[in-house]
Each structure stands twice: as C-alpha cells, then as structure tokens.
C-alpha cells in the first residue's frame, strides 16, 4: 500500500517535472527569433473556432518564414478557452512577457474584455479576427479597447442590418422570427438584426426565442415559428446548432427562409445539415475557400486540414504583425504604432487598415446562399 502510493505519486511528479523542463528548455531558443501570440479557445467546448484561427496564423507564419529565411517566428498559443475567467488568469502573464510583440486575437469578445486591462498596461497590440462586440471599439463604452485593440472583422451593428436585409431580400410581406443561442455573441447580434429590420420596408418581427447553445431539441422553437406564421427565420448563433435546427425545421414541413450570421457562415454548416441547408442565406466575410480554390488547396496541402472560420481574418492579422517584424518593428511600442497606421492589402484583395477606434476601415458583409452543399457568394449586401 505504502509503496504503491509513493510510487504513483513519484511517477506523477516526475512526469510533470520532465514535461515542465522540456517546455522550459524549448522556450529558450535562438536570439534572432521573434514571438507573436494567438489567443483564443484551444480547448473546451469552443475549441474548434480557436483551432481554425490558429491554423490560419500558423499558415501565415509558415509562408512568411519560407520567404524570409533569416527571420524565425515563434508562435505562442494562448489558450483562454473563450472564457473570461481563464483569460483573466493568462492575460497578466502575456501582458508582462515583453518578448511577445503582438497577438492575433483574442477570439471572443468576453475574453477580450477580461484581457484588455493587462494588454493596455503592457502596450501590446491586438488584432482580433472574430471579437465582434460593438462596445470594444466604442469610445463611450467602458470596454473601449483603444489603442491596443484592433479587429479586422466587421462589428455586430454593421452585420445586424446586413443580415436583416439579406434574409428578407425578395420576400414580400416578410414576417421575421429571430432567435439566438443565449451567448454573448448571439444576443447582441439579435438586437442589431431586430433594429436593422425596421429599415426594411414591409418586414415585421413576429416572434423571438432564446435557446441555450446546448439544446438539440428545437421543437418548442419550431412550434413558435409555426404559430407566428413567420416566413423568414433568422438565427444569430453558431453553425453547429444551426445545422441541427434547420434539419428539424425542414422535417417539420416548414419552407420559411432560413438566415444566419457569420457564426453560421461555415462550410461545416452545409456539411452537417446536408440537403436541409439548401437555400439558406448567410452573411459573412469571404473565406479562404472563397478567395480562391488555389489558395485553399495550398492551405490544405500545407496544414493538412481545410481552412475554417475566420481563416482570412486570422491570416491577414498575422501578416500585419509579420510585415511589421520584417520592417524592423521589434518592440511593442514600435509594433503598436505600425499596426495603428498600417495600410495594406489582405489576401482577399480588401484594403486593410484601422480607424482610430481600432475598427477595420473598410469592411462589409457579403451574402452567401447555400447551393448544392456549398456556400455561394452572391456579392456584398447592399
């Protein structure tokens, strides 16, 4: 008994220490190395978003190092699980770790708000590919992220009206039902869709619901949709739930138009939902796959997986930092200045650059329609 316990504890401790030492030794690498970080959920329930974004960052670094063999880039994976509580624990360490020049991320708005005080104190430039909450770039809000926070994704208040317009396009006498998944992303977006709907002539809001994002049985929501007589259904949550929902909606015999925001805008949505997804209208920003089949093929060849959500945003964000390093901006202060005044082109051909609040200068949403299992770009929503 006695021995066994000692042994088991010794093994656990030894293993932990061995791992620890290994990590420490790998951390102290050569001098000509520069470090950037990616922050987002890399474990936990939201991990797929973070993994997709981080893959795009890794891809950008890979391309950059192939072109610039004299510069080595090290990527620090900052796993905040998309959870503000975890972000509050990791951010102080990152904020004071001066070797990190900039961060692509944080991916989630809640985690961003929890991290911001530390990054502001550390003067660490952030370019988030997916934190869309309006307050982050609103000077009047307590969460205002300037000067360190930037994002190259359009905000909820721009997407809301675009989604409202695109969802009701060509539907005469549109009766709209809006529901969200209770998340910090979906609830505000639903609010902006609702207010955007007012400027669409002939459209009216006939019902709402708020469905926890762990739900798979949508029958009460579908009952509500049927009772309300809606012919347009807008969901502001994420693609996995949307896929489960749209199947149930179609199986129930409803033919109402289904529309979703950039949380649903994911190739996986069409894969998961199969034939039911056909004709769904999504707003989002063009992805790598949309940028060009060639780019996507190169990505897949290099990374071994397809590109995922916010890949373009993460890729472009990483490139802003990498170009900065190439231009000799190797302190945080220089990097922050570089990012604030950056002007360049993204992989999709869009102009990259941030206004004084950290928002991307130009940026809009495109409408996509699911056609034969693929997301087909129908051009910017006007």
């Amino acid at each position: 008994m006695n021995k066994k316990i000692k042994q088991s504890l010794a093994i656990v401790t030894a293993a932990a220490l061995a791992f620890g030492l290994a990590s420490v030794s790998s951390a102290s690498a050569a001098a000509k190395t520069y470090t950037i970080g990616y922050q987002g959920p890399l474990s936990g329930g939201e991990a797929s978003t973070g993994i997709d974004e981080q893959n795009a960052v890794k891809y950008a670094i890979k391309l950059f190092m192939a072109k610039n063999p004299t510069i080595k880039i090290k990527l620090v994976s900052i796993d905040d699980q998309g959870d503000p509580a975890v972000a509050g624990t990791v951010a102080p360490g990152i904020g004071t770790n001066k070797s990190i020049l900039g961060i692509v991320g944080p991916a989630y708005s809640g985690a961003t708000i929890a991290s911001l005080p530390y990054y502001k104190a550390g003067g660490l430039a952030l370019i988030s590919p997916s934190a869309t909450r309006v307050s982050l770039t609103d000077p009047a809000s307590p969460d205002f992220g300037s000067p360190v926070f930037h994002r190259n994704v359009a905000t909820d208040d721009k997407q809301g009206p675009a989604l409202a317009k695109y969802a009701t396009k060509g539907v005469s006498n549109a009766k709209v039902f809006i529901f969200d998944d209770q998340s910090a992303y979906a609830v505000p977006l639903a609010g902006y869709v609702t207010s955007g709907l007012k400027s669409v002539s002939g459209a009216s809001l006939v019902g709402t619901d708020s469905v926890p994002n762990t739900t798979t049985d949508f029958s009460p929501t579908i009952a509500k949709i049927k009772t309300s007589g809606a012919n347009v259904v807008i969901y502001t949550g994420y693609y996995s739930q949307a896929a489960v929902f749209i199947k149930q909606l179609r199986d129930s015999g409803s033919t109402a138009v289904f529309a979703g925001g950039d949380g649903v805008f994911n190739a996986q949505f069409a894969v998961l939902a199969g034939a039911s997804a056909e004709g769904s209208r999504l707003t989002g920003v063009a992805g790598l796959a949309d940028v060009g089949a060639k780019v996507e093929a190169a990505f897949k060849k290099s990374m071994g997986v397809s590109s995922g959500v916010y890949a373009v945003e993460a890729f472009d964000g990483a490139n802003i930092f990498l170009n900065g390093i190439k231009a000799g901006k190797t302190t945080r202060a220089a990097m922050l200045k570089w990012v604030n005044s950056y002007k360049g082109k993204g992989i999709g051909g869009a102009t990259l650059g941030f206004d004084k609040n950290g928002d991307i200068a130009v940026g809009g949403f495109s409408g996509f329609t699911v056609t034969k299992g693929l997301l087909k770009n129908t051009g910017p929503v006007k």
Binding site: F19, G20, S23, T89, P92, S135, P142
Partner: protein, 345 residues
C-alpha cells in the same frame, strides 16, 4: 489498518504540533505564514507557470480556490451535506461587487459586507426549504439552485445578460500596498489573509457547540436529532457560513478580474471546488488547502501540454482518489462514516 505503517503526513504534522509548546507553535505558524507570503517571489523557480503569469495564478485559481474550498468544506466536510451549487454564492458575491462597484462608488472593502450578507441571505433562503432533504436529493436541489442563479443572471437585463459587467473597480490601495495589474502580489496577500481568517473561524467553531453539532449530524443525523441537536438550525448555519465564504471570495474575485460574465459561473466551478475538497482530504482544513492548491495550480502548470491538459487533470483525479480515497491529507478522526444506505431506507 495500522496507522503507523501508513504513509501519513497528517499524523506526522499533528505529532509535531502536539509536541510543541506555545512559543514553538507560534514560531511554526509564523514561519509557515511568512513562507506562504513569500510564495509570489518564487516565480523564477520550477514553480513558474508557462504562459499564465505565476503571481496571477496564485491569486486565481489557487488562492480563490483554497478560500472557496474552505467554505465548501464547512458544508460538505464538517456537516456532511453534499452541495453541488456552491458556485451560486460565488456568483452572488461577484455580481454584488460588480453592480455596486460600477453603480455606487463604494470600494471593494465597503462592498465586501454586502456581498457576504447577500450570499448568506441566499443561503438561508435556499436552506430553509431544502435542507430537510438528504444526501443526493440535496445534491440535485443545490445543483439546480446554482444553475438557476446563473440562468437568471444570464436572462436578465440589470445584469447585462451574457455581455457581463466590465470595469469592475480594483480595491483601493492599503497604505503602501498598491493593487497593480501587472503585479498581483498584494492581491495574493489579501487572499491569504482571508484564508487565514476563514481557517481561524472554522477552527474556533469546530471546537465549540456548532462544530460538535455538525460532527454529530455528519455521523448520524437521526441520532443527533434524537439526542436533542436542532439539526435543521445547525445545518442552515453551516450552509450560511459556507455561503458567506463563497460570497467573500466572489467579491474579491470580481475586483481582481475586473470583468465578470455569467459563463464564468457554471456548474463546473462547483464540481471543481468539490473536487478540491475531496481530493485534499475532506473535513481536514490542511487537506483542503493542499487539495485546492494542487488542483488550482496543476492545469496552469501543465499548460505546455495544452491539448491533453484536462485529460491529465481527469486522470489525476481518478488515480489519486483510487489510491487515497480519504484525500491527500485525510481528516484525523478516521471513523468510517456510515452513509451507505441511509437515503432510501
């Protein structure tokens, strides 16, 4: 089982403590406190956490976990009630701090009594109807209570729903000790002081009437009732004291994290804190402290294996529980608790 042959740190500690006179005891206690207070300076050693900053980890999760585990230990360890909704009190404390801190201009120390009071009121409100239930029925009801608190906060506008509350003020400086973002030593010392106060409170209560009543309730509630112990009253006391500690932890946490949102107060937190209590040694203050320290610290220490981190965590729970079912530092009175079949009978 022969206690001498047992790999037993707890008995060794107890024998040293009992063999010491008053001066020696004071010396031991002071040394221990000083060593703990110096912990944040050990950041450059093998203790350092990759990615997360070491002194921040010491405050949360480690310090706050120890505090909450001590609070939960009053309920689960001392009086033997299984509470799976402890996070509710933590959330109430945190939201009290966030709402009052952003709306009233009171500082952390002034809000602390409110946070504790609200948590205690919630404890009484929940306890009165439910503490008549036993065992696993109590577990599910408390679990439900924890979820209800989170969902109400999530679905309400006064709490800003899923957006959470940002810009919670930091505590005001205490003399020369300044609360800083990039250096959280002062936070750590404050947590340590709160932990010491809690330990002091539990130790005082344990040797007095409430402690004896809890012990009796834990061992056999019916017998205790028959012997004239007002069980419901003492159960509610234990519940409320646990809630108070949870509320205090919540207030401090909100003031440290500066931002709180409903997603931070899920059932997982309750389960994690319960794991800390049982892992360390249920009912034994030092065991609980050790357990919470390890479980709070471990996930951040092993961040370099980021992918399999929680897998390791789960495996450690299984392995340690199997080899040391009474926890790393089990409680002293080793009577086997007869709880096997009391629920349905």
């Amino acid at each position: 089982m022969k206690i001498r042959n047992y790999w037993n740190l707890r008995d060794w500690g107890a024998s040293v403590w009992e063999g010491a006179n008053r001066t020696k005891r004071v010396a031991i206690a002071l040394t221990a406190i000083v060593l703990v207070a110096l912990l944040p300076f050990a950041g450059a050693s093998f203790l350092a956490t990759p990615i997360a900053s070491y002194d921040a980890v010491l405050v949360y999760p480690v310090g706050i976990f120890v505090l909450m585990a001590l609070g939960l230990n009053i309920v689960v360890g001392k009086s033997g009630m299984l509470d799976l909704g402890y996070v509710a009190f933590f959330a109430i404390g945190a939201y009290t701090m966030a709402l009052m801190g952003t709306h009233t201009g009171l500082n952390t120390w002034e809000i602390m009594p409110f946070g504790i009071a609200f948590a205690m009121i919630a404890g009484v409100l929940l306890g009165l109807p439910t503490l008549r239930l036993r065992g696993d029925y109590l577990a599910i009801v408390t679990l439900g209570f924890g979820e209800i608190v989170r969902l109400v906060v999530l679905n309400s506008t006064w709490s800003k729903g899923p957006n959470g509350i940002a810009n919670v003020p930091m505590p005001p400086d205490i003399g020369p000790l300044k609360f800083k973002l990039d250096d959280q030593k002062v936070f750590f010392w404050v947590v340590v002081i709160m932990i010491l106060l809690t330990i002091w409170m539990i130790r005082r209560l344990s040797v007095r009437r409430p402690g004896r009543a809890w012990e009796a309730i834990r061992q056999d509630e019916d017998a205790a009732e028959l012997m004239g112990v007002p069980t419901l009253k003492y159960k509610i006391w234990s519940f409320t004291l646990g809630a108070a500690v949870g509320g205090a932890a919540g207030v401090l946490y909100a003031s440290k994290n500066l931002f709180i949102a409903p997603e931070m107060f899920t059932l997982n937190v309750s389960i994690l804190i319960l794991s800390c209590v049982v892992f360390g040694g249920i009912g034994n203050i030092w065991g609980v402290v050790v357990g919470a320290t390890i479980l709070g610290y471990l996930p951040d220490r092993i961040r370099f294996i980021s992918d399999a981190r929680m897998l390791v965590f789960g495996t450690v729970l299984v392995v340690v529980m199997n080899f040391r079912p009474d926890g790393l530092l089990p409680r002293k009175k080793r009577e086997k608790v007869i709880v096997k079949k009391e629920v349905v009978a």
